[in-house]
Amino acid sequence: MKNIKYLVAGVFFGMVLVKAQVISWFRIQEMFQLTSFHMYGVIGTAVVTGIISLQLIKRFNIKTIGGDPIAVAPKRFSKGQIIGGLIFGIGWAITGACPGPLFAQIGTGFTVVAITLLSAIAGTWVFGALKSRLP
């Protein structure tokens, strides 16, 4: 079962999300109401950590534990990043969650968020169905 390691990584990440309180609807309201630095501190530190990690991986040509090279695909620009980004942002403040926290919120015991997750899956499906007709 080569995928078990990703389950374990997910457990680690899920626990961090809860203890960081970034899955809290309250923290998301604070972030967008500019009344607390917490979320900016978390995301900013995460990005700086990620930048340094990727630079180290590239500079020292670090391989995976299986010995494969590490390569990250570049992101290509599309209008979706603007339109879809705004749509997601509106939903982020309403639900207090991006996709990762949805799973963690359900885990902490807010089982009704499973409805939010199902609706997010439906949203993804509708996007797939309409994709060719969107700008």
Binding site: G10, V11, A73, G85, C98, P99, I115, T124
Partner: protein, 191 residues
Amino acid sequence: MQFLKFIQQPWHWSVSGLLIGLTVPLLLILGNKAFGISSSLRHICAACFPADISFFKYDWKKESWNLFFVAGIALGGFLAGHYLQDGQDIQVAAATQQRLAAYGVHDYRALLPPEIFSWGNLFTWKGLIFFIGGGFLVGFGTRYAGGCTSGHSIMGLSNLQWPSLVATICFMAGGFFSANILIPHLFKWFN
């Protein structure tokens, strides 16, 4: 048990940010996987309801690591939620508490307000907007944007990708509009 007590407190933003950021190299070193979570929703569509839509016709099994990862997130949420909490109220900024009071939100014992996030609200306007509507926008918007906070704001920015910066700015703009204009109006109209 001193250690358990120590980690049961809420974690400082710098510690939290560091550990979230380290998930990027962790997944790369485990198997050259790019950190990103919203793709899991697409894989679920491809696995369960492909409906002959070309966007869902691909070998999702090749990406099944992502589904193990999100299952782990739910499990990690359960473990931290049940064993790593100190039982204290969430400390929320006074100015935000004041605004939330106007929404009828007063209970700070859990990470989410039970006044909104409970099964009893499912068939009310709150359920329609906070679960059905909000969830739909998250799923539709992230896929349209080609990623979410993890894929763009953390993974993309870590890899210095300018399209991810554009996406992140739009996430924030949508959130500012929603939290400061849309949500207060919704409570005003419906409460």
